[in-house]
Symmetry: C2
Subunit: 183 residues, 2 copies
């Protein structure tokens, strides 16, 4: 097993910075058959996933970082509403969502840089409403891996649309074996 990477703020920001452009390159201008299709009842389309990432920018990541810095473990985080986007994205186009996500992420990363966090801050503790005690570095690492989990989901949701079209090759295409642990 290779050694896992320890938390590093610059390397975390390197991932967080790239996600909006990655989703833009993958999704902008794609036909609706790819963007609006999901994996069946109560699952998310690419459109829903971008909406969910927007909700995280607005209500979750930096809000929780501030709670840790200002209140520590004394004040648990507010729960993350995993379904808010289903209402909030309703009258928007995918292109608007991609623009909103890019702008909010840029603003949040500027706010994160402005905190001027030092190594000694990374161990500061907060309280997750379900998981209990967590640290600031765990929160920031999770922000980046949360992006990756939705890239993972997005590729699976899109691939699913061609499950029949690929014929016998489905046996070789790992993404078609993924059992939806990223939803």
């Amino acid at each position: 097993m290779a050694t896992l990477t320890e938390f590093n703020l610059d390397e975390t920001i390197a991932v967080l910075t790239r996600t909006p452009a990655t989703l833009d390159a993958l999704l902008r201008g794609l036909p609706a058959s790819w963007v609006r299709s999901n994996e069946g009842r109560d699952t998310w389309s690419a459109f829903d996933i971008v909406g969910h990432l927007i909700v995280g920018e607005r209500t979750d990541w930096m809000a929780r970082a501030r709670i840790i810095l200002e209140n520590g473990e004394a004040r648990p985080f507010d729960p993350f509403d995993r379904f808010a986007q289903l209402k909030e994205s309703q009258n928007k186009s995918l292109e608007q969502l991609l623009d909103d996500f890019a702008r909010l992420r840029r603003e949040n990363l500027a706010a994160l840089q402005a905190l001027n966090l030092q190594a000694k801050d990374f161990g500061r503790r907060g309280r997750h409403p379900a998981l209990g005690v967590v640290t600031l570095s765990q929160l920031l690492a999770t922000w980046a891996v949360h992006d990756l989990t939705h890239v993972h989901q997005l590729s699976r949701v899109m691939a699913h649309q061609y499950r029949d079209a690929v014929g016998p090759w489905s046996a070789y295409l790992g993404v078609l074996q993924c059992n939806g642990h990223s939803s």
Copy 2:
């Protein structure tokens, strides 16, 4: 279950066109800790995955489309060397690989468009060395889903590096539960 999408050439090309820019946005300039790390012995890094996509452009997809059009089932496809990139990428930088992939994909999509395929061509048959009879539309759909399977793998390989760094949040991050069906 939502209805699955039937093969459509333009919609397939819409995905194939976007993959180089997607990988470029995700990977170019990322620190080596993200790009060169893998999931352990005999697994692929982001660097290896881009190399593998290049081999596909050079030796697989369009070569097989031409075999179908010229030879039908009479001539089985050459097997796809899934490990060629481990030698071929050796002295290149990730940036070179991203440039090579973008150029080769552009050339291949131009060649595909030049074939001026019609609906009646999509059912033309070829012979896969292991899977048996396949059609041209299945080959082209697989080309697109193969891109998506490696985006899926890439997000998982990167997320793996922060498996420890996210602490208790690992329980919520689907990509960390993925068992590597995309490798």
